[in-house]
Symmetry: C2
Subunit: 282 residues, 2 copies
């Protein structure tokens, strides 16, 4: 058992991580051009892999690229990395870039890179107390694609810290969309569970939580405004690495009674159960 | 004399180009995070180098980064590459990325990469006939910085070609700003030369042309609308690699008499003369 991954896949080869490089002509380095996806590996199993691969293909297509290997080959590479790296809990990231461009602008044969990262799930304290978030006026350029462009998110890291928050929610003209790396949900006063429909990345965890919520509550995609958030009973975020995290403050406004809500914590239990079921099936 | 560059500078080392790589943990590959700048090298001399370095520093600062070496060291590296590569006419590109990030998100010690590219100046035909451009609704995320993010520009390459155009001009709500890699100028019916003031990269060639125009005509930065363009006597673009190129059609509208204008061609002569003067001084 080791804490750090040791092998990565780069343009057709499995290599020791320290040798995993791309030439400077790659369009990710030259023009920030690429898409990626990211899934969890639990006890040697890739969780919800097919859903992540489906989205990876969709992101590539939205950016006029295609994967250079088949899904079968891709799954074999993923399996090889899981075995070689032998990490009980980890994330695995796949990046597809515009490739080694001869003029530094036109697309070439895409570069596919795959590697693992250590993963720490949110601790008990975060779930017990919830987090504060801030808001920022912004919509991503290609919201339907998981592009590698995090210029805005990374520029905002300092502001998030300075304001004592854990994340930043994008909004435009008072209509909210998503976080740099997470989706948003609210529970309205009437108990309905709603997640923004437009200008968001279609998160795999977002979809799972929406399905789980639909079994117990009124649940739908829809328009969510800042005012809806301030009036909400509960607010939470979802992501692959964080599952569900309760939000108890947005900018300077406390949400509900300032504590993680029942619906939020109940859905988290449902999600963990779903992951365990899928793990046993595969 | 050789047609292709053979050496590049990567994170402190001058290397043969084929060995010029960045590790996959670099924030350019992980998050498209970086800035760059680009200047011309004529007969072994870097043209207007100090202006480009000043802008490179400003872009880095806007993205919360700083160059890892001093300007003196940077100029020595540039000189070494010019001598080793021995290209009579070339561009030189400097890229500064967020560095080798331990978690793939937080900024690290920036990676500085410098290399040369062959350069072809616009041919006589382009200057004699002018070009067609199209327009697209968009404003760059951090217009004041020369970031590596060209997601939009590269996604539009196909549309530009399909519509028989040479470039795409960004506009929002009818107010135009810039091209992915060039600035815009118009000559109004009253002879005034105007370039957009807001949401543009402050091009070095843009500034040189604005100064040159001010010596002969009324010249200023200001608001330029699509309507201003359609009513203009002349329209042209400026860039480091293209100098000045006349624009004779915007979307389906012909500009002026459909031929490159006098002011445009006169300013191009002035610019070439200025470059020659600077070349002789240095």
């Amino acid at each position: 058992m080791q804490s750090n991954p040791n092998y990565a896949y780069v343009r057709g080869q499995v290599l020791p991580l320290e040798k995993a490089t791309l030439h400077i002509s790659d369009l990710s380095i030259q023009r920030g051009y690429g898409v990626f996806d990211y899934f969890r590996v639990h006890n040697g199993k890739a969780v919800f892999l097919d859903k992540y691969l489906e989205r990876f293909h969709a992101s590539a297509k939205a950016m006029r690229m295609a994967l250079p290997i088949s899904d079968g080959e891709l799954k074999a590479v993923i399996q090889e990395l899981i075995q070689k790296n032998s990490m009980p809990l980890a994330g695995m990231k796949m990046i597809l870039t515009g490739g080694y461009s001869s003029n530094g602008y036109d697309l070439a044969e895409p570069s596919l890179v795959i590697f693992q990262q250590p993963l720490i799930l949110p601790g008990a304290e975060m779930l017990e107390n919830g987090i504060k978030i801030i808001t920022h006026e912004f919509v991503r350029e290609v919201p339907q694609a998981k592009t590698i462009n995090y210029t805005m998110g990374i520029r905002l890291i300092d502001e998030i810290r300075q304001r004592g928050a854990s994340d930043v929610l994008y909004q435009r003209n008072g209509v909210v969309s998503e976080f740099p790396r997470c989706n948003l949900f609210i529970v309205k006063q009437d108990g309905a569970v709603v997640t923004p429909a437009e200008n968001v990345l279609l998160g795999v965890t977002r979809k799972n939580v929406l399905d789980l919520a639909g079994k117990k509550y009124k649940a739908a995609e829809g328009t969510v405004t800042l005012e809806d958030i301030f009036q909400a009973k509960e607010v939470f975020l979802t992501s692959t690495t964080k599952r569900i995290v309760p939000i108890v403050q947005v900018d300077e406004q406390v949400i509900g009674n300032g504590k993680p809500g029942e619906v939020t914590l109940s859905l988290l239990q449902d999600l963990i159960r779903l992951e365990e079921q899928v793990g046993m099936q595969s």
